[in-house]
């Protein structure tokens, strides 16, 4: 079992980890304490005190609020998307690329989907404008609820006390 320092995990998060260590992380059995180090690094990078429980994007987290221990989805900027069991995208802003002109802002004409077949849905944070996700479905497709974590079992797996409202 390999172990890594918090500094190495921070470098990993920042994309600055040296290749030898990164390769070791890839090829050796996983370090169970990675999760603790990881959320600790991320916690240092945000300006609020709610506790990060599960990161779900580079700027998006399931957190436990300090005030009432609720589990909510939250942007790094502090914007809240509501209860973690709900699909955060429903409380985001969305921009639909559903025409050739809109697609051409992203890809050359022949290298983007034909919008009769498929569209891009870009989900933004209403406060900071971070693009948290791009869906690429057909028209009419329901908004995907990507991930419904079983937080209680997860904390059991990593040997940590689960949030009280998990």
């Amino acid at each position: 079992m390999s172990t890594y320092t918090k500094k190495q995990v921070k470098d990993l998060v920042d994309g600055d980890l040296d290749w030898d260590t990164l390769h070791k992380m890839l090829s050796m059995p996983k370090d169970i304490e990675r999760y603790s180090n990881y959320v600790s690094v991320l916690q240092d990078q945000v300006s609020w005190d709610d506790k990060i429980i599960i990161p779900v994007g580079p700027h998006l987290y399931i957190v436990e609020t300090v005030k009432d221990k609720e589990l909510v989805t939250k942007c790094r900027c502090g914007h809240g998307f509501g209860d973690y069991t709900l699909n955060w995208k429903l409380n985001a802003l969305v921009y639909i690329r559903d025409s050739e002109e809109k697609m051409n802002q992203v890809y050359p004409k022949l290298m983007a989907p034909d919008t009769d077949w498929q569209v891009y849905r870009e989900y933004y944070c209403p406060t900071c404008g971070t693009m948290h996700d791009v869906e690429v479905p057909t028209p009419w497709y329901p908004v995907m609820h990507d991930f419904e974590p079983d937080i209680k079992t997860f904390f059991d797996w990593v040997g940590l006390p689960a949030p009280v409202n998990a």
């Binding site: 959320v39 994007g57 992203v106 290298m111 791009v134 995907m144």
Partner: protein, 777 residues
């Protein structure tokens, strides 16, 4: 998995093959029942051999595994086909008497269980009685309705005996260059049914006394276009199987038969536990919902099919719910998939239950100990009637990968959410490209021989971005972890096609904080052929990958072909030639180097059927890039500068998507103004907020379009076919969009042919056929 207890004539020769006196089928049923009852493979609640003699256990494993890998490396040198020799499209797998995989070689690991499916079919359909199973026999299979992924993967299966008892099986598979389908090439289209999908061999006994039978050799070789390659491929498979059989026999002598047979059971339970252990170490339990699509654009004039009912545009729909359970097993449920179709992209359950491990060994279980144990720790659900599990025996499967790689792209995203949540960022992969185009065709080649080609350059597409680094450029394909585009010189020997250029394809990697790996393109000029056709096979109107956590999908494909190019004259006259500098299809360049009479097809129709190519005609083989990860505005400025100077991104899109403010010096080098870029990126974030709407508001508008049935026919057909097959999917759809109870969408209302939707006949309806069922249906 089915327990087939009542087979007519079963046990005609009970005890003749197995030491325990059971028929092969009864023996397999006993293993299945013990597995079902106990939750452990074969009822092995303890791994007594492994725990009491771990060194002995590992010694057997190492010997067998090394033997499989070594036999593969040696045997592939026999093959002449670049698909096998250059790309490594072969695999050898060792099975126990029940047809469950013990271990497999490197290579196309999709076959960890496909040949096992064929063995199980022989067991369940009483091959023991007729045609009989004896030492020195060889069986050949490529039947997709038994378990093969597509017909070009030809399997040779050899039983292994000790002291007159069957102790296991070894199988070898090679991807042959042609199977005599309607369309030339190994993964062709044009045919729409099994009856045009090439030679079909159903676990046929093709050899006795270690010698192929003459009737088999004569019949098979004349049923394909490329007998030279076919013959050497078969020798490759036979040689490999016999080398591995020798190693097993040696192992039995050295370790004892009891140890070997115990090992052959325990190692599968060990594999089952290995997957569980890895799931617990790597993932977050819960439910992951994901989906993928790919286009089947068949109404276009360049798609010629034999039957009018196949001339419809359709979309492959592949929703998947992955449930990672608290006991660290998992379930992959493909409820809601669209119907199988009149094309060659249908799959079958074994393509998942076996094939999916070629992907998982690149992520979740990167271990040499991959065997059927992983399948026993996995619940698969492929609803009958969908493209994952056709309910009609006419289906064609030649390019099942068109759908498989597209659907599996979404599984990367689901798993990556787990890895990302736990901090294993190094394992995150935004997805796989749809590794295509498949350059295929045939006719009379430069050697004046009947020939067919399938360029495997596509084994080196761009990979998905990671959460800590960009995807790899022109590096790999999900179905072939070895990833090799092959040598130009070898392809020019195998194909009457000269390389005019081979270049990284600009702008093909999906944008993101970390971008997807770029694909590449090769421009080929037909040269030295007599009568020659080619066609395209890939995605064009749609993406199958999505990008992850703010990253964009990779670029879609497009087609470029040119006829009456005047190139042969231009070469003689020393005029300019198209040499692979065509980075921006909005400003095409190849056309500037063609004669005045050139007929150019540059469009999104990336699936075509055979078209005539004369010497001097051009064909662009565009291999796709991978999807991106994270918001592109987070990409480091220095990395965008490198992208520009390496021609990885077009300046126009660096500005629009990455928000960089750039300038170019007199040497042509790009620089990025950091301060202005930071300001521009802030402005773009505000522009996003200004142009977007709250999701729930947009949903009201989209709901109106659904109520008004405003969508293309192909989109409506996709939904209608899924609704018909899945009340669950229909119910969730109506619930999400808050549609009235009486809202419905029927395929009948679309005015397109729907052959096979309601009238079909399954393989199981044939007399004396007992299909093996590998999943919930």
């Amino acid at each position: 998995m089915t327990i087939q207890e009542n087979i007519v004539k079963a046990g005609a020769a009970p005890g003749s093959l197995l030491k325990n006196g059971l028929t092969l089928n009864d023996n397999r049923n006993r293993i299945l029942k013990k597995t079902t009852d106990s939750g452990y493979y074969g009822g092995l609640t303890e791994l007594k051999f492994k725990e009491s003699d771990p060194i002995g256990f590992e010694r057997i494993f190492s010997k067998l595994r090394a033997g499989l890998v070594n036999s593969r490396e040696v045997a592939k040198k026999i093959a002449a086909s670049p698909i096998v020799e250059q790309e490594g499209e072969l695999c050898f797998t060792l099975y126990n008497v029940a047809g469950d995989c013990i271990c497999t070689s490197t290579g196309i690991i999709i076959h960890v269980g496909t040949m096992g499916a064929a063995i199980k079919y022989m067991i369940q359909n009483n091959w023991e009685d007729n045609p009989g199973i004896s030492p020195g026999d060889m069986f050949t299979n490529n039947d997709c309705q038994i378990g093969n992924v597509h017909p070009c993967d030809i399997m040779t299966i050899v039983p292994i005996f000790h002291d007159g008892n069957l102790i296991g099986w070894v199988g070898g598979v090679t991807h042959v260059i042609d199977v005599g389908a309607v369309g030339p090439g190994s993964m062709s289209n044009g045919q729409i049914q099994r009856f045009g999908d090439g030679i079909q061999i159903t676990c046929r006994k093709t050899g006795i006394n270690d010698t192929p039978m003459r009737d088999w050799l004569h019949e098979s070789q004349r049923n394909v276009r490329t007998p030279k390659y076919w013959i050497l491929d078969e020798k490759t498979r036979i040689a490999g199987c016999h080398m591995i059989r020798d190693i097993v026999e040696e192992t039995v002598v050295e370790e004892g038969i009891e140890a070997y047979e115990t090992f052959a059971m325990e190692v599968i339970e060990d594999g089952r536990r290995g997957l569980i252990s890895r799931i617990k170490a790597m993932t977050i339990p819960g439910k992951y919902n994901t989906v993928a699509f790919v286009d089947v654009p068949y109404t276009h004039e360049d798609v010629h099919v034999p039957s009018p009912f196949a001339k419809v545009d359709t979309i492959m729909h592949a929703p998947c719910t992955i449930t990672i359970k608290s006991n660290a097993t998992w379930r992959l449920d493909f409820e809601g998939c669209s119907r199988w179709g009149w094309h060659t992209y249908n799959a079958n359950p074994v393509a998942f239950t076996s094939g999916i491990w070629v992907m998982m060994t690149q992520t979740l279980v990167p271990t040499e100990r991959i065997n059927d144990g992983a399948r026993y720790a996995t619940e698969f659900r492929m609803p009958k009637g969908t493209w994952t599990n056709p309910d009609d025996r006419r289906t064609a499967h030649s390019d099942a990968w068109h759908f498989l790689v597209s659907s599996w792209s979404s599984l990367w995203r689901a798993l990556s959410r787990s890895y990302f949540g736990r901090g294993y960022l190094e394992e995150v992969n935004a997805g796989n490209s749809n590794p295509c185009n498949w350059l295929q065709g045939g006719g009379i080649n430069q050697e004046e021989e009947i020939h067919a080609v399938n360029s495997f350059e596509t084994a080196a597409c761009g990979t998905g971005a990671c959460a800590v680094k960009d995807g790899l450029n022109h590096a790999a394909a999900i179905w072939n972890p070895e990833g090799d585009m092959g040598d130009i010189e070898i392809w020019e020997l195998a194909e009457p096609l000269l390389y005019m250029g081979r270049k990284i394809k600009t702008n093909t990697g999906g944008y993101g904080k970390y971008r997807g790996g770029l694909g590449f393109e090769t421009l080929r000029m037909v040269w030295g052929s007599a009568d020659w056709t080619m066609f395209f096979m890939g995605n064009g109107y749609m993406n199958s990958d999505w990008g992850l956590m703010g990253g964009y999908p990779s670029a879609t494909g497009y087609r470029f072909e040119a006829h009456k190019t005047g190139l042969l004259d231009r070469i003689k006259e020393g005029q300019s030639l198209p040499l692979g500098e065509d980075r921006d299809p909005d400003n095409p360049d190849y056309e500037n180097h063609l004669g005045p009479d050139a007929i150019v097809k540059r469009d999104k129709q990336c699936i075509t059927t055979e078209a005539i190519y004369e010497n001097g005609d051009l064909y662009l083989n565009y291999l796709r890039g991978g999807p991106g990860f994270g918001d592109p505005l987070d990409r480091k400025i220095e990395e965008v500068r490198e992208d520009l100077n390496e021609n990885f991104v077009l300046p126009e899109y660096a500005v629009k998507v990455y928000g960089v403010v750039i300038s170019q010096d007199s040497e042509g080098d790009w620089t990025v103004d950091e301060a202005k870029t930071i300001a521009r990126r802030m402005a773009i974030r505000k522009e996003r907020i200004a142009r977007a709407v709250p999701t729930r508001k947009w949903m009201e508008e989209e709901r109106g379009r659904i109520m008004d049935k405003k969508a293309s026919v192909q989109v409506q057909q996709m939904f209608a076919s899924s609704f018909f097959l899945s009340e669950d999917f229909l119910g969730k759809f109506k619930s999400f969009w808050d549609l009235p109870d009486d809202w419905e969408l029927k395929e009948e209302s679309l005015g397109i042919p729907m052959f096979g939707a309601k009238h079909h006949m399954d393989l199981s309806e044939l007399p004396d056929v007992h299909p093996v069922v590998f999943c919930e249906e």
